[in-house]
Amino acid sequence: MIQSFKMALKSISGNKMRSFLTMLGIIIGVMALVILVSLVSGTTSSVTDTINKLGSNLVGVSVQNDYGNPIRKEDLDDLMKRPEIGAVAPIANGSMTGKYNTTSKTVTVYGTNGQYFGIRNYDLMIGRLLKDSDYDNHTNVCVVNSTLAQELVGFTGCVNEEITLNGTKFTIIGVLKENNEQSSLTALMGGGNLEAYIPYSTHVRLSTDTSINIKAFYISAAKDVPTETTKNLVNRLMLERFNYDEDAFNIQSTDMLEDAMGNITAILSILLGGIAGISLVVGGIGIMNIMLVTVTERTREIGIRKAIGASRGAILRQFLIEAIVLCMIGCAIGIFLSWSFLRLVSVITASLDLSFNMNGAVVIVAVSFCFFIGVVFGLYPANKAAKMKPIDALHYSE
């Protein structure tokens, strides 16, 4: 066995250029497989992280048709009393012009309550959050995100400063922490906006689009209650309220986003992996082709070996191992090149906060697939060699 292995290495190194060209098919196939799948899984984990930052157990409800039975603040308070529900926050948003002294910027203004921040995993940096009394008294106060504090007011510790939103004066009562979500991906998804959070009731007065009939609200599941359970409960309540019309409202949860994302990337992985797999098979055919040439070229050698006592098995083993070794060397080179490539991509995209690590599972798949290809495409030429009759092979070139 060790002898056959040595012989195979000798034969491969004896014809370096040809061996390399033969391996090229395998190398490219392995690289395609490993790199594509690793890139997809790298992107997936990055996107999944971002989704998680949106709020871990978030359920969003939006109402399209209230059948004359609109949701009011009292309804949300009722929801709060249910044990499955942790927090409820109405939400309305609109774009307004924010002004501080002479600076003027476009601000996304959210009308909500104090629970919103908990639901969205937003942390306070300085000041205080919205209170129920703010809601009840329609006070003109706002909590702002750090982007607004920096870009409109000019400094983050701007509590008690006054800004105007569409001409109405607001006092800043709190500034939110710059969550990790300020990563570039969330920036791409709109995380870099100037945001102000005001009581829902105040938003109603400020914006003509917002009324006391709540059109959208966020719910978070109570501790230790699966998001799925809460989502189903809300779904049932909403169906009862709106004449069992599924189209009257829309419920979304981050679970669904994750599931959808997972599905998409699984399909992508299989699709791209499949295409790369085809190129591996093509590489394998290349190996078979060269092994057939090798067998013909070495007919005389096979004859000599058989004459001095090599059994069929010994010849079969020799050529099969040669094909497998050829495949595995190609595979190793391919994996090494993929690794280098992924390191390079990681360095280049380091600023994007993406990491492309080699996917361990795909490496195992690539190695076993290469081995399988070596066996499958090596078997026919090796068997052809083993079947040669010693006298015919000995007199081949004569």
């Binding site: 006592g309 010693p390 000995l394």
Partner: protein, 227 residues
Amino acid sequence: MITMKDICKTYRIGTEVVHALDHATLEVYDGEFVSIIGPSGSGKSTLMNIIGCLDIADEGEYLLDGIPIEDYSENELATVRNKKIGFVFQSFNLINKLTAAENVELPLIYQKLKKSERKARVKAALEKVDLLKRAEHFPTELSGGQQQRVAIARAIATHPSLILADEPTGNLDSKTSKEIMDIFHDLNRQGNTIVLITHDRNVAMQAKRAINILDGRVTEATDDSII
């Protein structure tokens, strides 16, 4: 050592049937040096292939060391060739990618001998043909005579019962031919059985016994009747 009885071998070339061997009967005893002489086309290659277990006769009985060969499978024949027969070919038939020592070692690898045992045998065999100094050379770096000596070393490394030489001097000049023949004489003196196939009368006469082969028929030859 070799007992052949009524061996027949026919080839079919197109519609024509060629009787390469026609009821050949032959006896070679332990320790003999026998030459088989015949012109080309006389069937001597076929005879050599059958003696060397490279081919199987259509009819007749062949005992090598008392073992009937006819019923053997291909793999069993490989084992017989490996253990009992040492081949020396006209065209040397060394593997060019392997060094002299590796060529000599090859049949021992197929015998699955231990590495230390193989090394010792390779050394002894190369010493016998006086080529120890060239052990690490490749066949292409050796002269014809040296290559044939490597081939002889390969043949004797397995301690075979029979050394089968097919025109061993056919590709060599007369001086190197003599050297090679001297090695065969030495080997015979040390007790090796040698069957030498040739078309060269001078070479054949050096053997203790000569056998004629003509049109597939084998006859015992006296000095005068050597063709």
